[in-house]
């Protein structure tokens, strides 16, 4: 379908972009890869007054290192994330999860920042960002601020981004020590969103699990951490039995929805199975 009419701006710098947002009127939408925004506009579920297209803002693209931190520009495409050597080395969980997103065409256009700003509970990247304790650098009319992942995802499709602001970059602490990772995605056809998915990063020390970080996709209106399971795993034996026991609490504190792909109780069951599998794989079992 055809979107409702809108004004269009295509800035080339972050400052120009902020200005264009400020000038854009009541309802401004930022366009990144457009892979979520354009369908929503074409279905006329959104009819913004102005669209500010970030595709020419080159400073928002790319991945760099700053000491112990990996900095990923908001406009870095899924494809570039998957093929980036720094991400492969320091945050392979992001690459693994991004590989499960959609199809090649969508991954060429869709962006890391766009997926996080969109905050679709079925989207694959928010849970990963949460599990890795990523930080979000947000630019606004009054300068920049940084928000932790736990505070960034506020509600269904809602983030800490305020009107007039834009997401500039995502800062991901490098994992140090011996970590194994696994993104366990459960969906029915190849290009579909997750029914439930589990992002796991596990640090092992002499046969034990020293630390586990577990992010859950589509188990509530926002991505969640499986805190109870994480706690049960800290210091646990790296055995199938210990992991299975810990995974049983993966659904604690979640509030999954019921839809065509599954009712809430089924999702609550799935998250246990997928957590067991994800943690087992990440722990090298």
């Amino acid at each position: 379908m055809i979107p409702a009419p809108f004004a269009y701006a295509r800035p080339t710098t972050v400052d120009e972009a902020l200005q264009a947002i400020a000038d854009g009127g009541e309802d401004v939408k930022i366009l990144a890869g457009g892979q979520s925004l354009i369908p929503v506009m074409r279905l006329r579920l959104a009819a913004p007054e102005t669209v500010v297209d970030l595709t020419r803002v080159t400073e928002l693209r790319g991945v760099r290192e700053e000491g112990d931190t990996l900095v990923i520009g908001a406009m870095t495409t899924h494809h570039d994330v998957i093929t980036d050597p720094l991400i492969a080395q320091h945050a392979p969980l992001i690459a693994e999860a991004t590989e499960t997103v959609a199809d090649r065409q969508v991954r060429r256009r869709g962006t890391f920042g766009g997926a996080l700003a969109h905050a679709d509970p079925a989207g694959d990247l928010p849970a990963v960002a949460l599990a890795l304790d990523a930080e979000f650098v947000i630019a606004g009319p009054n300068g920049r601020r940084t928000v932790g992942a736990a505070d960034f995802f506020v509600d269904y499709l809602t983030t800490a981004l305020e009107d007039g602001e834009l997401l500039v970059e995502i800062r991901v602490p490098k994992l140090s020590g011996t970590w194994g990772v696994r993104y366990e995605k459960f969906n029915r056809v190849a290009q579909a969103w997750s029914i439930v998915a589990v992002a796991a990063a596990v640090r092992r020390e002499n046969g034990h699990i020293a630390e586990a970080r577990i992010g859950l996709t589509n188990m509530g209106p926002t991505p969640l951490r499986a805190r109870a399971t994480e706690a049960a795993l800290a210091g646990a034996d790296a055995t199938p039995e210990a992991i299975a026991a810990a995974a049983r609490s993966a659904g604690e504190g979640t509030s999954p929805s019921s839809d065509l792909n599954g009712q809430a109780d089924y999702r609550a069951h799935l998250v246990q199975v997928l957590t067991r599998r994800a943690v087992s794989a990440a722990a090298g079992l």
Binding site: I2, V40, F186, R188, V189
Partner: protein
């Protein structure tokens, strides 16, 4: 060396049987062709349809003033404006004498009966202008209770879809073999039986989901109208539109340019086609309408939709004694072109390949507040095949017999053809044992059974199952007399003509209008062999009632069997006419002429020969031709088959079921189909692959789901799951060949085979994997949730939650073109 060997190598290879690449594909795939939506005409206006956001309501007010004043809007028309001239969408198949047809307005006047029904049309100078103004049309609805569930709808006192009718039942169709004289008394057979197994099976609603959305362009010229439409049936459409709108048939030309798939979904006289014609007539301007994907899923007809109550009777040894079928068939809100006929066509296929002595079939056509159903790949036959192949497995379980052993015991032996079934059909040819044996080999049956045993014994979380479907179908629709006896409104013949051009090139005109099947290639292969001309010298024309005036179009696996035969018959006439001219030119007697490889030669006179392409030039010049003939070797032929053709095959599916999550995964799929003579193996394999994809999709992925208010919640491809190549296994396919005796090509039809056969094989395989865990049925599609519930909670997996997934904010609740309802308006920061 030897003369004979040289002659053999020099003779052109037969075209029939060659895996020719399809000559039409380059333009179809690149899109550099005349898809209807590519058409641009001077001064063309664009239509956008305002659609009902509610399933059942009285229209109490329509205010179009704001829309009329919107920029670049030319007109806004409502049901009232068009009521006097719109007639009713025709139903060509009154399956019983007392069938109730409430009529089907193209645009609602007083009442809407399904979500997506047209209530107003905006005509704009641009597509954007028309689309923008849709939101400005203000309609008041007084809600009526929606009728959604067939089993409720047929109860006494149920709410009515059409309150002027007495009930929601359109018709009650019965076929009773005892009464028809093709079998013994069914009630008696059941009374006497040692074993009876009964099941309630569900055929969910499906959406044809063709790749090219529906599109129509109408150009008025004086009192003539030309319509381009993405239709399967330009010929049928012309007749029907003339009858509906009163535009005389000879003033109406219909063109189906290249059409991007249909699967039965474009075998229709669409409301939007009628509306486009009415608007063009009223405004005297060319108009175009092209649907969005959301409109297509919501408002184009759906397929399947049956609740099947099936009983099978047998003795303890597994000899079947009787079959009883009672169907509730979902018509949707109205009867479209062949809505009531689809389940009735299936009536004859429930006995499958088995020798039942007794059979009774009853079907109620039931109205619901959903978009009408109609033909979808297989149309009636997949539903029947599913039921019989599922119940045979259930009977095998009851008898504790191997499912293949039970089938073998009851199927028609190769030596018994032609065989008249209990449904009165005469099956033409085949060998079920041979196809089955070949399929077992392809699958690696014994190894997989051994693995299944190991997995069971070790209680592996991933279980393995093997499912059978040994099927047949009636194809080559259809003998006109048989259609007449079933009260169908038209015949089943097909027409073709051949025009020999002066330069020797050949134009073949076919009445079977293709929409992606590859007719141009296959027909060229047939004609190349018949006339002995190069494949490249043949062009196939179709899809324009001015170019190809007579035809019955493409559906029901009929094109090659009926349309291809008409082409062969026309070619035979060309050769016969050319023979007279050749005799004249060669100064020989016709009887002394031999026709081979495109040349007439005089027997016993080496060197005396003339090619058929030369004769074409000779009759064009017409300087020298026999006195008693016309100077033309063009010919036309119409072929009306005397019987259906009956492809058959054995499909085997090996399925892994993850008992922890309910996820099913096809491990291996092997099928052996007998489609008679194979004209082009590449096309045959392509048709099988596509059919398998659709049949597997019914088993595992697709379902048109409505919520309690009658909203289609699978309203986008996010929720209506169509699998891609990435989701399907490698297919091991092969053929056996038993030529069809009913046509000179020997072909049986392949368009629907894969789709008809695969669904029960897949479901049987999943059940075989988990039957030892107490599961005896799982509703389609086999979502992981349903499979998991069936394993862990018992039952058939139960109903799905109706809500669409939240990707795109539940875009599926957007139920009108461009108008978001309160339910679909989004919270959050979108």
């Amino acid at each position: 060396m030897t003369v004979t060997e040289d002659a053999a190598t020099l003779a052109p290879a037969k075209e029939v049987g060659q895996p020719r690449r399809r000559k039409e594909d380059a333009r179809l795939i690149t899109g550099r062709t005349t898809w209807t939506d590519n058409m641009v005409l001077n001064g063309m206006l664009h239509l956008a349809v305002v659609r009902s956001p509610v399933a059942h309501a009285r229209i109490t007010g329509v205010d179009v003033s704001a829309a009329q004043q919107a920029p670049n809007v030319v007109a806004v028309l409502t049901g009232r404006d068009l009521a006097a001239e719109q007639g009713s969408i025709p139903c060509a198949w009154p399956v019983t004498a007392d069938m109730v047809n409430p009529g089907h307005p193209s645009i609602a006047v007083d009442q809407v009966n399904h979500v997506g029904e047209a209530v107003a049309i905006v005509v704009g100078r641009t597509k954007a202008a028309a689309t923008d103004a849709v939101e400005l049309v203000d309609i008041d609805y007084e809600l009526l209770p929606p009728v959604l569930d067939m089993e409720t709808a047929v109860q006494d006192g149920a709410d009515l879809v059409h309150d002027e009718l007495e009930s929601n039942t359109s018709y009650h169709f019965v076929f009773d073999a005892g009464e028809a004289g093709t079998g013994v008394d069914t009630e008696q057979a059941f009374a006497d039986a040692e074993v009876v197994v009964s099941r309630r099976l569900v055929q969910q609603r499906l959406i044809p989901a063709f790749m090219e959305p529906r599109s129509v362009v109408v150009q008025p010229q004086g009192d003539n109208f030309t319509m381009w439409s993405a239709t399967q049936i330009p010929h049928v459409l012309r007749v029907m539109l003339a009858m509906v709108t009163g535009v005389p048939e000879h003033k109406l030309r219909i063109i189906a340019p290249d059409v991007g798939g249909g699967f039965g979904g474009k075998l229709q006289v669409n409301p939007e086609e009628v509306l486009a014609l009415l608007v063009a007539r009223r405004l005297g301007k060319p108009v175009k309408w092209t649907e969005t994907r959301s409109e297509s899923l919501m408002a184009a007809h759906h397929g399947r939709g049956q609740v099947q109550f099936i009983d099978i009777a047998s003795d303890r040894q597994g000899n079947v004694k009787g079959l009883r079928v009672r169907l509730l068939a979902d018509m949707g809100a109205y009867l479209r072109l062949i809505t009531p006929g689809v389940p009735a066509l299936g009536a004859f296929m429930f006995p499958g390949i088995y020798k039942f002595p007794a059979y009774r079939f009853e079907c109620d056509g039931v109205f619901t507040n959903k978009v009408p159903t109609d033909a979808y790949r297989g149309a009636g036959r997949p539903e029947a095949t599913f039921a019989i192949e599922r119940i045979m497995d259930e009977l095998a379980v009851e008898l504790d017999m191997d499912p293949l052993e039970l089938r073998r015991k009851n199927w028609i032996g190769a030596e018994e053809f032609p065989f008249t079934t209990v449904a009165g059909l005469e099956y033409d040819s085949g060998d079920y044992e041979q196809a089955t044996q070949k399929a077992l080999d392809l699958l690696g049956y014994d190894e997989l059974r051994a693995e299944q045993k190991r997995r069971r014994e070790s209680n592996d979380p991933v279980q393995l199952g093997i499912g059978f479907s040994t099927f047949t179908e009636m194809c080559g629709l259809a003998p006109s007399r048989v259609l007449g006896s079933l009260s169908y409104g038209a015949g089943g013949w097909e027409s073709a003509s051949i025009r020999m051009l002066p330069t020797g090139k050949v134009e073949v005109v076919t009445g079977s209008t293709p929409h992606g099947q590859g007719h141009e290639t296959a027909w060229s292969q047939l004609v190349a062999d018949q006339l002995g001309v190069p494949f490249e010298d043949v062009e196939v024309l179709h899809g324009d009632t001015a170019v190809s005036p007579r035809g019955m179009d493409t559906y029901g696996s009929r094109s090659l069997v009926v349309g291809g035969t008409a082409v062969v018959k026309a070619a035979e006439k060309v050769v016969a006419k050319a023979r007279k001219v050749a005799a004249h030119l060669l100064e020989a007697s016709e009887d002394d002429l031999e026709f081979a490889d495109g040349k007439f030669s005089v027997r016993g006179t080496p060197g005396a020969a003339v090619g058929i392409q030369e004769i074409a030039l000779a009759v064009f010049a017409a300087h020298n031709y026999p006195e008693d003939v016309e100077p033309s070797i063009d010919a036309e032929a119409t072929f009306d088959p005397v019987n259906f053709s009956f492809p058959h095959g054995t499909h085997l599916c090996a399925m892994e079921v993850d008992t922890d999550t309910g996820m099913v995964k096809i491990r291996k799929y092997a099928c052996v189909d007998d489609v008679g003579t194979v004209v082009n193996p590449l096309i045959v394999e392509g048709q099988i692959h596509g059919g398998l994809a659709q049949g597997i999709a019914q088993a595992l992925y697709e379902e048109a789901v409505y919520d309690a208010d009658g909203n289609l919640t699978t309203g986008s491809f996010v929720d209506y799951l169509v699998p891609s190549a990435a989701d399907l296994p490698h297919f091991d396919t092969a053929n056996t060949v038993h030529v069809a005796p009913g046509n000179p090509i020997g072909a049986k039809g392949v368009g629907e085979a894969g789709c008809i056969a695969s669904t029960p094989a897949v479901v049987n395989a999943a059940l075989d994997a988990v039957r030892h865990l107490g599961v005896s049925d799982i509703l389609m599609p086999l979502t992981p949730e349903r499979v998991w519930r069936a394993i862990h909670e018992g039952g058939d997996g139960g109903a799905r939650a109706a809500a669409g997934t939240n990707a795109y904010g539940g875009a599926q609740t957007e139920s009108t073109a461009g108008v978001s309802t309160p339910q679909s308006s989004l919270g959050g920061d979108r």
